[in-house]
Amino acid sequence: MLKILVFLIGMNADRITEKLNILADAAKYDVSCASSGSKRKNENKGLGNASNGICHTYTEDGRCVSLLKILLTNHCIFDCAYCVSRKSNDIKRAAFTVQEVVDLTINFYRRNYIEGLFLSSGIFYNADYTMERLVRIAKKLRTEHKFNGYIHLKSIPGASDELMREAGLYADRLSVNLEMPTEEGLKLLAPDKNRQDMIQPMNFLKKEIIQRTEEKALFKKAPQFAPAGQSTQVIIGATPENDQQILYTANHFYKNFNLKRVYYSGYVPVLSDSRLPALNTSVPMVRENRLYQADWLMRFYGFHVSEIVDQHNPHLDLDIDPKLGWALRNLQAFPIDINKADLQLILRVPGIGVQSAQKIVSARMFGKLNWEQLKKIGIAVNRAKYFITCNSNSFERRDLTGTAIKQYILSQSQSKYIKAATTQLNLF
């Protein structure tokens, strides 16, 4: 009797391990893993909170692991060309039960492995049927287990408003992936999907989030609704869009849908298909990194998208970061005096990040800053020096052309640049 029991537990462990392998593997191409932006507290003496955005570990490719990111199932009725789970792909399929996802989440969370759950799914049966399962898991975690950790649900395109509303009551963040930067790209690679099925729930969420936030301001007891907002992801390099198209799309969604984040996912060639880049194409990691840098310039550095890319420069320069690119195209704006210029201007200097810029503005109240002090504050002097003046008497060349500056900077920091290029989100 005991032997049989042990055998059953053993089998169960193997089965759950296999499911986890399949369904984590299938989910990993969704790059977003952020767990920030929510302020869910642990007020019910329950388990966890969602206010920190911690990366608990890093994959061997250097990406942050913050959430248990899995698919509920990789069965799918659609046939998107870029996706490993597509219907026509001959792979092993698996599906978790609701309880299995709940147990994994709780037990990983208690051991401090994760900040919470990022759940998405292939579409089985139809959109609502799938979405209903996802919502049920979130509901169970919140109500039966008093779980206050982070929950990100990926909405199934075409799910009903009713389910989206319920999802928002339990999830911290909801996302609808645009998948391709343009409608044409989507038509080409995901013929079963249509852009309207994505935009409609995004619109619904945007309105609902605004309305609920107003309610919450009036009535403290009003329930939270997707407190970490909504995000989306676009795949880069599977279709021929240029960076200008991609960044304008991102800008459009930031402005009109109040998105918290747009994620850019360099296409990883996993399938052979005449519509897709060949299998031996390398992942466009440098380009992906440049797009994130450009995205940061728009969100934190006060740049307008048209300053970063335009008709004459539809692609971001892969050799240099987009801020340096902008500065070289706008040499007439420099040099600026670090001891006088506005914070907004200092933020635009290559080699100076947000923190250093703020430190400069604080420190210069105590006396004019020189090169040595600027270096100590943490700015990259070898890049910034072409664009600023400070408290110094030594002779500095000011007659260099943009091309010359670029050459100097590249030759001085070649190795660093190559490193920086593969460092996602580690900027300037």
């Binding site: 608990h56 570990t57 250097g62 208690r110 430190k359 420190a363 105590f366 504050i377």
Partner: protein, 251 residues
């Protein structure tokens, strides 16, 4: 040059500052520990911690620094970094000798160094919040061992208390040989006696499912890797090797 020797406490440090001003010392070094006879030929001054004197210095500091500034000074000292006490004394003297609040005067070497120290400590605190891995013991307590570079345990208490209210847990600093224990109500300091049994014996009684979840996590860690994007350098920068010993996914 006078070498001050103090007991390592924050109060001791403040008492030392008091002595410096009272005796009008200008060039000083300060270090923790006992007065040793080998230092016989140096100009050495043993500081005896005096809470009245410390309180007077503290009050003076509070008039010159913001609350945040006080906190940063305290954290930098608590961190227990090697050979940084002289910097801290230099910082305190600079604060007293300046007519106004200088805590953001990053052009000054002491102010800048303090901000670096605080940044290092906070980074380690965040790393611990991320890298602590609990193992469930048979009595349902969740146990974790750490060996941080700096003394960050006191800074971790709140985070873990807020997060894990409904489970008992222990976080133990093996390097400094003390830990925090949360018993579902409060957090207390504890010291475990590893002298008679090795740490691995003390924690041998894992819960029934502990092994399963560790394996699942290790599997998960492998599954999410994308070999086509491999970047070992970046990986190592995010998780320096010295932390691996206590990371379940690196067992």
């Amino acid at each position: 040059m006078t070498t001050l020797i103090y007991d390592g406490t924050f109060e001791g440090l403040l008492t030392a500052v008091f002595e410096i001003y009272e005796r009008k010392l200008s060039y000083v070094k300060i270090r923790k520990g006992e007065w040793l006879s080998t230092a016989l030929f140096e100009d050495v001054l043993q500081i005896y911690t005096d809470s009245n004197r410390a309180a007077r210095v503290l009050k003076g500091l509070q008039q010159k620094l913001s609350n945040e500034g006080m906190k940063r000074l305290y954290i930098a000292h608590l961190a227990d970094m090697d050979d940084e006490d002289s910097m801290l004394v230099g910082y305190i003297r600079y604060v007293f000798d300046s007519p106004h609040n200088v805590e953001e005067d990053y052009g000054n070497k002491y102010v800048l160094r303090l901000s670096e120290m605080v940044r290092m400590v906070r980074r380690e605190k965040h790393r611990m919040e991320a890298f602590i891995r609990f193992q469930e013991l048979a009595d349902t307590t969740f146990y974790s061992a750490i060996e941080p570079d700096f003394n960050v345990l006191p800074l971790l208490s709140r985070h873990f208390k807020d997060r894990y209210t409904d489970q008992k847990w222990i976080i133990y600093d093996l390097k400094r040989n003390y830990g925090l224990y949360y018993d579902l109500h409060d957090v207390q300091c504890i010291a475990l006696d590893f002298s008679t049994s090795s740490p691995s014996n003390v924690i041998s009684a894992f819960s029934e499912n502990e092994g399963l979840y560790q394996r699942l996590w290790q599997n998960y860690f492998k599954s999410v890797n994308i070999p086509a994007r491999k970047n070992t350098k970046l990986h190592m920068r995010h998780i320096p090797k010295r932390y691996w010993r206590h990371l379940t996914e690196k067992f």
